[in-house]
């Protein structure tokens, strides 16, 4: 029997950035980069483990908007075309570096192999459907796949209308069911944003657990007996798992975290910015905007502008050392905790999935090393998902957690400040109008039903927490404001058309093609 459990949770999410109107829409590249650098490398790591007969348990949260993009035929074709075009570049680079910059040649070969492999996998092995590829690992018993709110709405700030929370979650769960056959056991609350009472909506929809940031559990009342090392049970009976600080810090922290290691790949030195414009032109945005190619030849090196060439072998070695260090720390931590607890401790380590591979290039290999080491090099703890833990330990302490999030300063400030507070007046009023429409038009059919469903999609898309987040970060702000404005305007026109009974069908058809998320959405979710 292990003394306790480590629960690694990867939350994969991107906002819905699908733009049929423009084949080279800049923001769609977020998706392409995440596929090449995160989702495929994670799948590859899982396959390596599977092939070596190493069973594991991880939790993966796939946001509905990400699943919708990963299964969208237009985006699948676009990604494949993008990959097909960009994979020429590492081949050219292999020749160029051999001629001109031999110290980078080895690294260029690595990229050539990676891009070719990504292409083969995406096109042939996965047949362009990464949701299905991940599902296979759930079916094999290696992953517990959960989801989050429909468009990653930040629930504590939408909650004035309880209907908005229910619609975000119900739509997400129905969409999950479409891909996985049943509802998930757990839910990732977007940004870990929780407000007391929201758990009742989860309960009503059959969800057994969700996650909170560390203080979300530590500040719960009454004071939780085991701190964050065992789940607590909300008044509704839904369980909340709290994030472990130590394991978070080792991976996330700018100061102490692994990703800043000098041997690891430097994120900011993409060849798109270093090489001659005419040479790089076919692989960047057609308007000549230099965008990341994914080929980055340098390592972090140190706190300096001067960067040394990246040496894949050394980085791999370092990832192995860091995996060993992470495991060692968890062994100590869990053994210590187990000594003081009358039930097995669970250490919950949640991360944004895109940290692995996209930002921290070596992240997927690190994870693979970690899983191997946990299996063979220690016997203090096992990997487990929250669902697994609740089967072993269904009775947990009743507590009421306070409102909290895992954002800056721990509450709602990142999504409610001078840069983005203007959106809530609109989001709340639109939700009221949506409820009004749903209540006045039950059982609608034909074009009216289509308009009502499209209004629901527009409202959900406007509610995506990403827009407020981007407005606060200060980059791509225009895009986030435009998306918010567009979805609000689209909703308002739909509302006007529905109320007046004069629906502009051509316009509606155009919208259905543009904002095609959740094809089966049902406006009556807002009743």
């Amino acid at each position: 029997m292990p003394k306790g459990f480590l629960s690694i949770v990867l939350h994969a999410h991107l906002p819905y950035v699908r733009h049929p109107e423009d084949e080279h829409f800049l923001e769609e590249k977020w998706l392409y980069e995440a596929i090449t650098e995160t989702y495929i490398p994670l799948l590859k790591a899982f396959e390596n483990l599977e092939n070596d007969g190493i069973d594991f348990r991880l939790t993966l949260s796939l946001s509905p908007s990400l699943m919708a993009m990963l299964t969208d035929p237009l985006l699948q074709e676009r990604y494949l075309k993008h990959l097909d075009q960009i994979r020429e570049l590492p081949a050219k680079e292999a020749a160029r570096t051999k001629r001109e910059q031999n110290e980078l040649h080895h690294c260029a070969l690595m990229y050539q192999e990676t891009f070719e492999d990504a292409y083969k996998r995406y096109r042939y092995k996965y047949d362009k459907d990464l949701v299905k590829a991940f599902k296979r690992f759930q079916d094999l018993g290696f992953l517990e796949i959960i989801t989050c709110a429909g468009t990653h709405g930040y629930l504590p700030l939408l909650g004035v209308q309880r209907g908005s929370i229910r619609a975000q979650i119900k739509t997400a769960l129905d969409y999950y069911k479409k891909h996985f056959g049943e509802y998930p056991q757990g839910l990732w609350l977007p940004e870990c944003g929780y407000n007391p009472g929201d758990d009742w909506i989860l309960k009503d929809l059959g969800i057994k657990y969700f996650f909170l940031d560390t203080h979300g559990v530590l500040f719960a009342s009454p004071r939780p007996r085991y701190g964050i090392y065992a789940p607590i049970t909300c008044p509704s009976g839904v369980h909340a798992f709290g994030r472990d600080t130590e394991s978070s810090k080792q991976v996330w922290s700018a100061k102490e975290g692994y990703p800043g290691d000098y041997d690891y790949r430097e994120f900011y030195r993409d060849i798109a910015y270093d090489l001659d414009f005419d040479y790089i032109k076919p692989y960047i945005h057609p308007k000549g905007i230099r965008t990341d190619t994914g080929i980055k030849y340098y390592r972090v090196t140190g706190n300096t502008e001067f960067k040394e060439p990246y040496i894949p072998h050394n980085a791999r070695e370092k990832a192995s050392i860091h995996a060993g260090n992470f495991m060692f720390n968890r062994e100590k931590q869990i053994a210590h905790l187990a000594g003081h607890m009358d039930r097995p401790p669970i250490v919950v380590a949640p991360y944004d999935a895109e940290l692995f591979g996209h930002w921290w290039y070596e992240g997927p290999i690190w994870l693979e090393f970690l899983i191997r080491k946990i299996k063979f090099d220690q016997n203090v703890f096992d990997l487990a998902t929250p669902g697994d833990y609740l089967k072993i330990q269904p009775n947990n302490q009743p507590c009421q957690p306070p409102m909290s999030s895992w954002g800056y300063r721990g509450y709602n400030e990142y999504w409610l400040n001078g840069s983005n507070d203007w959106i809530y007046r609109h989001l709340h009023n639109l939700a009221s109008k949506m409820s009004e429409l749903a209540n006045k038009n039950p059982g609608s059919t034909g074009i009216k039903k289509r308009a009502l469903n499209q209004a629901t999609r527009e409202l959900l898309l406007a509610q995506s927490s990403d827009w407020a987040f981007i407005m606060k970060t200060g980059t791509m702000v225009d895009y986030a404001c435009k998306r918010t404005r567009n979805h609000i305007n689209r909703f308002k026109k739909l509302y006007g058309d529905i109320v007046s009974g004069d629906i502009d069908e051509e316009w509606l058809k155009n919208l259905e093609d543009m904002d095609n998320i959740f094809p089966d959405v049902n406006y009556e979710v807002y009743r």
Partner: protein, 201 residues
């Protein structure tokens, strides 16, 4: 920080007033939107009107110390009030009255404080400085005789806790060895929540 927020609030308020004045022609016919250049869907980039023809005040929680409110008073309501109050309206000024809800001490709602706001302002950040406390607010007018005329009442909100609970469940007494360890951690000093913040390093 607070100054910045208030300043931002004022700027937004100015823009809001300007927008309101610009678009406040009430019976504008609904035109079929025409596609402007760069619009994926006709009507997409219409500027957003900050009014919904609804008298409302909505209160939100930012964190254990701060609330945020936005509101709208329709032209109809405004006219009705100014007719009702006559000269008093001219000399009155808009204000927010913040109430604490205390269920435990016998009488329910206590006036916490008032904030004078500018004419035409439509949102405000309110420093309450009280975690674990329920509040609601009234938007009204401070009259020249010092009295407060409420116009709209908000929803009720509760600020979150920012410390360990003092309540102990005797069936679940905290494990001191664990809590000693947790107290030493700086879990509220650094945030690792979002990828974008990680990138800002």
């Amino acid at each position: 920080m607070i100054e910045t927020i208030i300043f931002a609030g004022i700027i937004i308020a100015i823009i809001a007033v300007a927008t309101f004045r610009f678009y406040s022609n009430p019976k504008q016919p609904l035109k079929k939107p025409e596609k402007q250049s760069g619009e994926a869907v006709p009507g997409d980039d219409e500027p957003l009107l900050e009014r919904y023809d609804k008298d409302q005040i909505v209160l939100m929680v930012r964190d254990p110390e701060w609330l945020y409110a936005y509101w709208e008073i329709t032209a109809t309501k405004q006219k009705q009030l100014s007719q009702q109050l006559g000269n008093l309206w001219q000399s009155s000024s808009p204000a927010l009255r913040i109430y604490e809800v205390n269920q435990n001490n016998g009488h329910n709602n206590e006036i916490f404080f008032d904030i004078k706001v500018n004419e035409g302002t439509r949102n405000w950040y309110i420093h309450v400085g009280k975690p674990n406390q329920s509040f609601f607010i009234d938007l009204g007018r401070l009259l020249s005789d010092g009295s407060f005329l409420p116009i709209l009442r908000s929803n009720l909100v509760t600020t979150p806790s920012n410390s360990f609970s003092q309540e102990i469940d005797p069936q679940w007494p905290p494990v001191e060895a664990i809590w000693a360890m947790l107290r030493e951690q700086d879990y509220l000093d650094e945030f690792y929540g979002s990828l974008e913040s990680a990138k800002e390093r």
